[in-house]
Amino acid sequence: MTPLSADSRPRLARKARLRTDRLTGETLLLYPEHGLVLNASAAAIVRLCDGRSAGDIAAELAAPLADILDFLAALGDRGLVTT
């Protein structure tokens, strides 16, 4: 994945699916052989990975852009978001 910036437009990869856990109510991000439990802020970011820019996501969530980019990069390493 190319380095991320405020203009990157992350989208959730085809292999990743979001759902709510039946037992705990937490948000799960499922992909082949794995599942991540997302905390509330991570879940909010992932829900906005619909093609809008990382800068817009940061504005929408009133969160520091650097945090958003770090988290998106970690997801990118796992192939979970594409830009």
Partner: protein, 357 residues
């Protein structure tokens, strides 16, 4: 109380391939297969119990013509469904149908990087068809995992296997060294690699992993008999996985059928009662049952003493330390097997062909 996250649904033991490393039982119980409605009920019970991923596997799950109905049921339940397949027999039309009813991902097995070496291991020339299946998978935009079981006969091809997976557009490549259970145990001497071969393969994998980061996930499951300490088998007995056999038995691990335990029959009880209350699931849950040297070992909570099935297969006692561990009093069995494999390479015994029930 623990909950299962993954249901391994072994839909049938039938398979058109005859892989010499197959971990299916060498003798299959003569009990009728679970019906479609039973499998659909089991999927529902799994969802209620906390399962979020289901692997449809076998044998060859495509040999069941109700696979579509089961995938659809999984989708209804929001279970992430993986089809674990040899790709035989599959048409593009059927794969498109499976994607349409909600299949989430496909895991395709290859036996080696080339047609000839593949056929020697699988007993069938399936290579070209598998390539075709991979291409359809990409066309249909399904995530593709390529799975190759590694052993003495294909470890030297590992670089070519990685190149094949890249060329096929796989998002994940699983290189799993053989576990010596089922047919693989019978073929142990022919399948066991030597140390130099393994070290070379490991170096190739490490270099490729760095290069492929973010594009293809590369998993290399360490070979058991060459490690000094055992793996945490299945993340612990009855901790995260539940396996259901073609005839409807619930087990904590796909190899557990060799153990002298009464595995709960899902025709007669629910998955929840199998998981929570059955003797078979409670027997080796946690670490309380472990004896020395595990009982006083600081690795106890990490590896749970290794694989129960391997401990039983090699020592006759399922509560023993996995003999792979160099602290096990039976570790000499593993050392001897390694040495025997190093100086002989007997021919492979292919798995018995099994197309009928």
């Amino acid at each position: 109380m623990s909950r299962p996250y993954v249901l391994v649904a072994e839909l049938t033991y039938r398979c058109p391939l005859r892989c010499a490393y197959c971990s299916n039982p060498t003798e299959v119980p003569d009990r009728p297969a679970l019906a479609t409605a039973d499998w659909q009920r089991v999927l529902g019970e799994a969802g209620e119990l906390g399962v979020v991923q289901v692997h449809f596997t076998g044998g060859e799950p495509l040999l069941r013509d109700d696979l579509e109905a089961l995938v659809a049921r999984a989708a209804e339940l929001e279970l992430y469904s993986n089809l674990i397949t040899s790709g035989m027999p599959l048409t593009r039309e059927r794969l498109a149908g499976l994607a349409a009813v909600g299949l989430c991902a496909l895991q395709l097995s290859f036996q080696a990087a080339r047609p000839g070496s593949s056929a020697a291991i699988a007993g069938v020339d399936a290579f070209a068809h598998k390539r075709q299946v991979a291409a359809w998978t990409r066309e249909l935009e399904l995530p593709l995992t390529v799975n190759v079981v590694l052993h003495r006969q294909n470890l030297d091809e590992v670089g070519a296997i990685i190149a094949l997976a890249e060329e096929l557009g796989a998002e994940r490549l699983e290189l799993a060294n053989t576990q010596y259970l089922g047919w693989a145990h019978r073929n142990r001497a022919a399948l066991m690699p030597d140390r130099a071969q393994l070290d070379a393969a490991r170096a190739v994998v490490a270099a490729a992993r760095a290069r492929l980061r973010g594009r293809m996930e590369l998993l290399f499951v360490l070979p058991d008999y060459h490690a000094d300490r055992p793996r945490t088998c299945m993340n612990g007995w009855g901790e995260r996985y539940v396996v259901v056999t073609p005839d409807g038995r619930a087990m904590p691990c796909h190899a557990a059928h060799i153990l002298p335990l009464a595995f709960p029959d899902l025709r007669a009880c629910s998955l929840a009662s199998a998981w929570n209350d059955s003797d078979a699931f409670q027997r080796y849950r946690g670490t309380d049952y472990l004896r020395e040297p595990c009982r006083s070992c600081d690795q106890r909570e990490v590896d749970h003493g290794g694989c129960r099935c391997q401990a039983f297969l090699l020592t006759g006692d399922a509560t023993a330390a996995d003999p792979v561990c160099d602290l096990s009093p039976h570790h000499d069995l593993v050392v001897a097997a390694r040495a025997a494999a190093a100086d002989t390479a007997p021919p492979l015994t292919l798995r018995r062909l099994r197309l009928a029930r």
